[in-house]
């Protein structure tokens, strides 16, 4: 008997909706675009650029980026010697005991005897770097040719006076 009773619907069927399957209209939705702000990004070396971003801050100042990370600057001695003090332990130690125990200070004390020589060395290092750069620019192709004497060859020439003294 229960079969003869028609099943009740939750809501009456909408007569306007056709029962047969057909090609319905597809709503063309407007694409949603989040609002973007113009942001000035300041990198750690001071260089800036603007970008459109969802972040509402007008200026973003980064403390760590490609300009001061050793992975992107493998040749930078300054970055390689930089100590990482993320947990602040080193700072706490220095607050307590001062900077006398720093590795650089200890080295200075050792080198205090021959300071003049050290200064000369620093100067020399600067010259060496410049020379290396010049070699890179000028003699990139002749690397194999001048193997072994790439660095400092120009300096040697300068030292030799007018270049007639010798090849080296």
């Amino acid at each position: 008997m229960s079969l003869s009773i028609p099943l009740r619907r939750a809501s009456p069927p909408n007569p306007s909706i056709p029962r047969i399957q057909c090609r319905h209209a597809t709503l063309i939705r407007r694409p949603k675009r989040p609002y973007t702000f113009t942001q000035l990004v300041t990198l750690s070396d001071g260089s800036t650029y603007t970008q459109r971003t969802t972040s509402p801050a007008p200026v973003y100042k980064s403390t760590k980026d490609t300009r001061n990370t050793p992975l992107w600057n493998p040749s930078s001695q300054k970055l390689l010697n930089m100590e990482s003090d993320d947990s602040g332990k080193l700072r706490a130690f220095r607050d307590k005991f001062g900077r006398g125990w720093d590795a650089s200070r200890m080295q200075e004390r050792d080198e205090d005897v021959d300071r003049e020589e050290g200064e000369a060395e620093v100067e020399g290092r600067g010259e060496m770097e410049e020379d290396n750069l010049m070699d890179l620019i000028s003699g990139y192709g002749q690397e194999a040719e001048e193997k072994g004497e790439a660095a400092g060859s120009r300096k040697a020439k300068e030292r030799s006076g007018k270049g007639k003294g010798g090849e080296r």
């Binding site: 209209a25 063309i28 989040p34 971003t53 969802t54 990370t69 992975l71």
Partner: protein, 323 residues
């Protein structure tokens, strides 16, 4: 219009007369079946109508303007199939509902690419053949059967050694086909979204914040994946986000699908370090921030070129490079 009208009337008379003669020739049963009315046989506009038709004069006679809807084209709200007479305009048309205006800015990476990277890449990838000489013949891409068996006859050629997939051809790089960054997929697979929809919403918001575009949800069979597509640049990723990762070595040299698309992943902690997420970090439940996969699709046809392009943009690679 004026010239066409008499001709149309003449043709109508002509058709009418032929139909008459066909009945005389004993074709009555056929012409009974065929509906005689045709849109072609409708007489054209009458002479009086043509004389009256003057839209310019009519518009000049009009005192006030027409309602704005008569001047402005409104695209249909619904697409009703290719056979419907009222078709929506293409998405490139400003009238289209799908139209996205822009671009309104020239990103720094794009400027750098066109001014610096593209010429450098061309220099690195270009192979010069002196005029008059031709590059040597390239080997066959498909192997032939050795003929040791009689069944080898008429077989299709063998697939290359190692994999059944033919690798893409590397065309000679010229100024016209320098590899460039085509698009970046940012993708996040959320296995917990099946249990808690909150994960989906959080991931959508994070991806939107990072990429400036609305995320699309793709449902997998058992769990839910969030997927997102963007045409853009990885400027912030490379400049700001990657250096912040502790003990970061770079992207694995093994990454890539051997057809110029290179991808890598970021863990949830790194996603939290994106400046766009960081500024509003409290808005996201910290446990629900998803890890994301980033796939850089380039127009290069092999991984070597794609890696060169990406590393010129600043993406570091480590390990053995597998092409």
């Amino acid at each position: 219009m004026l010239q066409a009208a008499p001709w149309r009337r003449k043709s109508y008379q002509c058709l009418y007369s032929t139909r008459k003669t066909s009945t005389f020739n004993g074709m009555t049963e056929l012409s009974e079946d065929v509906v005689p009315e045709s849109s072609l046989q409708v007489p054209g506009p009458s002479e009086e109508h043509i004389q009256r038709f003057n839209p310019i004069a009519r518009s000049k006679r009009r005192r006030s303007q027409l309602p704005p809807s008569r001047y402005q084209f409104r695209p249909p709200r619904y697409y009703r199939g290719p056979l419907h007479p009222h078709q929506p305009p293409p998405p490139s048309s400003p009238a289209s509902r799908l139209f996205v205006p822009g671009p309104f800015s020239l990103p720094r990476l794009e400027q750098t690419y066109h001014s610096t990277l593209a010429p450098d890449l061309l220099t690195l990838m270009y192979t010069h053949h002196p005029p008059g000489t031709l590059p040597g013949p390239s080997g066959p891409r498909l192997r032939s059967w050795d003929g040791s068996s009689p069944y080898h006859k008429n077989r299709p050629l063998r697939a290359p050694r190692g994999s059944p997939v033919l690798p893409l051809l590397r065309r000679p790089i010229t100024f016209k086909n320098i590899p460039r960054l085509e698009k970046i997929h940012v993708h996040s697979f959320l296995k917990d979204a099946g249990v808690d929809m909150q994960y989906l919403h959080v991931a959508g918001m994070v991806l939107q914040a990072i990429t400036n575009a609305r995320a699309k949800v793709f449902k997998a069979k058992h769990s839910i994946a969030n997927f997102h597509l963007r045409k853009g640049n990885p400027c912030a990723v490379v400049e700001v986000v990657m250096p912040r990762i502790k003990e970061y070595k770079g992207v694995s040299g093994r990454s890539g699908d051997s057809s110029g698309d290179i991808g890598w992943g970021f863990s949830p902690e790194i996603v939290g370090a994106f400046p766009e997420v960081e500024i509003n970090y409290d808005a996201y439940p910290p446990r629900m921030i998803p890890g994301i996969d980033i796939v850089c699709c380039t127009t290069a046809t092999n991984d070597k070129d794609a890696r060169l392009l990406l590393s010129s943009m600043g993406v570091p690679f480590y390990g053995k490079h597998i092409n």
